[in-house]
């Protein structure tokens, strides 16, 4: 079905104003090389190792090279972990690529920003008009104060996905609050279904995404801002309620058996063993392709006790970063502009890559019903779309939340110790000045 998507989401994904910070010092080395006289070769490292995103990136690079005969992109793909390990050595050896597509959160690249290895793109945002063309998460996540060090990409949102066929059979309505959701999960269990397909084994994303979603259902925007931007304590009534809810769901058996051991969540949901799934839009393609039942996606319901009704968890899957020492800053920025801020590339990202690009102007794409709905959710200004906790956390807090769900399940954490350990991790990050609130340049 050919759809013209009017994606006007410039004010969406509002994540509030960020605080403080100065400017970085440029260091590093020149990496670009002339492949032939007058031709610039840009070195690019990215994490699209295989699959649809890899195909999309290849197509975009080819199209860019065709329309820019003076630029060649020399692309190196690396697994996320491998890129994380090698980029450090590359920067220190002065051999880092001109462009990098990597995670943009401060917990991951904060040390590079601190050391001045990543270019300040604040001026580029003005020059290319990115703030008018891209979702605000693109710059609100990869930034400290006025220093914007990246351009976010791959817009993702956590929602409640459920099997409509099962809901109809059991006679359930869409829950509008998390309290109603708890009742719904109980009814599903009573009807003989495993309510949730979520598991929280030793995989950071399973823990972090789930806990973050529940936290945001209870925390007000002010509280989120306090924790994420101002190094505020996790010891809040809303946080306690969120953790108590997770514990209640664990105790009531709403998860599959032994969720502490990593399980195949897709298989659990696709096989209809589980009726609902708290997950993100990266699953839309697979759900469309691999299931023959109707899935309904709704914004994750907030708590009745939350003064502003709760917020939706959004992510930028990654960010384009520029080596501060690149010999070709204009060409590097030009490529980023083409890759994220044009209708041509956005169409490729959506149709070939299966991801939602951050571009907010109109562009034509082939969209299925679920995919279109996700785009609407991402652009819905009433939903308080807010960057997820993994986008903000410092290194120690990130580590804590990576295993927090598993530790709640095995009983190593309760509500009090959860908050105490989260605060202890936050304190360590503050001491190393690696949080949004405490960040300083070296």
């Amino acid at each position: 079905m050919k759809k013209l998507l009017a994606i006007l989401m410039a004010s969406a994904l509002s994540i509030s104003v960020l605080s403080s910070c100065g400017t970085g010092n440029d260091s590093g080395s020149q990496t670009g090389e002339n492949g032939s006289p007058g031709k610039v070769t840009l070195q690019l490292w990215d994490t699209f190792v295989d699959g649809s995103l890899n195909s999309a990136m290849s197509q975009i690079i080819s199209a860019y090279e065709e329309s820019h005969s003076d630029v060649k992109i020399n692309r190196v793909q690396k697994e996320l972990t491998s890129l994380g390990e090698t980029i450090k050595a590359a920067f220190m050896a002065g051999d880092a690529p001109d462009l990098l597509y990597y995670e943009g959160g401060i917990g991951t690249v904060g040390s590079y920003v601190k050391a001045g290895y990543l270019m300040d793109l604040s001026e580029a945002y003005k020059t290319y008009g990115w703030k008018d063309k891209l979702m605000s998460a693109c710059w609100e996540v990869p930034s400290v104060g006025d220093y914007i060090y990246g351009v976010g990409h791959e817009m993702e949102t956590m929602s409640l996905y459920f099997n409509q066929d099962i809901f109809d059979k059991v006679g359930l309505e869409n829950p509008t609050t998390i309290e109603e959701l708890t009742d719904t999960l109980q009814k599903l269990k009573d009807a003989g279904y495993t309510p949730l397909a979520n598991t929280m084994g030793a995989e950071w994303s399973s823990n972090m995404n789930f806990i973050g979603t529940i936290l945001y259902a209870y925390m007000s925007q002010d509280e989120i801002k306090d924790c994420m931007e101002n190094d505020g304590s996790w010891d809040k009534e809303s946080v306690r309620k969120a953790i108590d809810t997770i514990k209640l769901w664990i105790d009531n058996g709403y998860f599959p058996d032994h969720p502490e051991v990593h399980g195949d969540q897709e298989q659990l949901y696709f096989s209809q063993e589980c009726a609902a799934w708290i997950t993100g839009n990266w699953e839309v393609g697979n759900i469309t392709k691999d299931t023959d039942f109707k899935t309904t996606i709704i914004p994750f319901p907030g708590s009745e006790s939350c003064e502003d009704g709760g917020s939706q968890v959004n992510f930028a899957g990654g960010a384009f970063l520029v080596n501060a020492a690149t010999a070709y800053p204009d060409e590097s920025l030009g490529f980023i502009d083409y890759a994220v801020a044009t209708p041509e590339s956005s169409k490729v990202w959506y149709e070939v890559g299966g991801t939602v690009p951050p571009y907010t102007d109109e562009y034509e794409v082939e969209a299925n019903e679920l995919g279109e709905h996700v785009v609407e959710l991402l652009g819905d200004e009433t939903l308080q779309n807010t960057a997820g906790i993994n986008m903000w956390l410092g290194t120690n807090a990130f580590e804590f939340f990576s295993f927090a769900g598993q530790n709640l399940i095995v009983g190593s954490l309760d509500t009090d110790s959860f908050i105490a350990e989260a605060d202890a991790a936050l304190q360590k990050d503050v001491e190393s000045k690696m949080t949004k609130g405490s960040f300083t340049f070296e």
Partner: protein, 294 residues
């Protein structure tokens, strides 16, 4: 006489020249790295930014770090586990296969050795599936006996390390078996025959005649096992990533995590230096003990 001395000197010089490339590589990749690690261990450094000297503070912090000591304990648990699930079965199997009337020795040797040549990532994933509380082989077997309560070996803080140890043993016993088999096959049967004539039973013969003869191999295997066990990394990464609640944290993974995930290069280096010191102490003590016995 003079000519002989000159020849000796030339040979000596040639010997030094021949070992020089290896010595240089050793100095660059081992000695230099070692010195660098010791230096890093005295720094507060995220691996990329400003280096701040903190003296021995990283070591003092390590001594109070419960996770570090938990990892140290887990490494010893894994080591003793591999003695039981790896070395011991390897020894017994090798003894059985070394008996003269055994047929298909090469076949068995290949089959038992096979797990050793598979990547830890693969057998780790396979064993993770075997332990899966929903669809795993062990769960299915338990179900046959009518137990409906599935058990998550790797999801329980009390059993997760045990589960990893069994997996480690499974991949290790074939390697031990091959080493022991080679040792058994080289033994002189005359000693066993005379023991038999003197009235020794099979057990006495095994412990008092056979084992003493393969003691050098046994010692080598034991030292190698300890060193190998303190280097285990990928198996833990694949099976549990150190969880739940750090119950399967081991030294190498802990060091990696501190240096590369937590960006605490100085602290990670200090842990690595301590691990190196433990291993050196162990080797010296063990060699002394073995030497005294010999």
């Amino acid at each position: 006489m003079k000519k002989k001395r000159s020849l000796y000197r030339n040979q000596m010089i040639m010997g030094y020249i021949l070992i020089l490339p290896a010595l240089i590589l050793f100095a660059i990749f081992f000695v230099y790295s070692l010195i660098q690690a010791v230096y890093y261990s005295t720094l507060e450094w995220d691996g990329i930014g400003v280096q701040t000297s903190v003296g021995l503070q990283n070591y003092l912090n390590l001594f109070q770090d419960k996770v570090f000591w938990g990892a140290f304990f887990n490494n010893w648990f894994y080591t003793f586990g591999l003695m039981i699930f790896g070395v011991l079965p390897g020894l017994l199997l090798a003894y059985m296969l070394s008996r003269p009337n055994i047929r298909g020795r090469t076949f068995f040797r290949s089959i038992y050795f096979f797990p050793r040549i598979i990547s830890a990532v693969i057998y780790g994933a396979v064993w993770k599936w075997i332990y899966d509380p929903r669809v795993g082989l062990i769960t299915k077997i338990i179900d046959l006996f009518g137990d409906d309560n599935s058990f998550a070996m790797l999801g329980n803080v009390k059993t997760a390390m045990f589960g990893i140890t069994i997996t480690g043993g499974w991949t290790y016993f074939g390697f031990c078996m091959v080493l022991f088999l080679a040792a058994f096959m080289g033994l002189d049967n005359a000693l066993e025959e005379s023991a038999l004539l003197d009235g020794a039973n099979r057990l006495q013969m095994f412990f008092h005649v056979t084992i003493p003869q393969i003691k050098p191999v046994l010692n080598t295997v034991l030292v190698y096992t300890v060193i190998d066990c303190f280097k285990v990394y990928d198996l833990v990464l694949v099976m549990t990533a150190g969880g739940p609640n750090d119950s399967t944290q081991i030294m190498t993974y802990y060091i990696y995590k501190q240096a590369f995930t937590m960006n605490q290069f100085g602290y990670g280096s200090a842990a690595a230096v301590l691990l190196g010191i433990f291993m050196v102490i162990f080797t010296i003590v063990y060699n002394r003990l073995v030497g005294e016995e010999v």
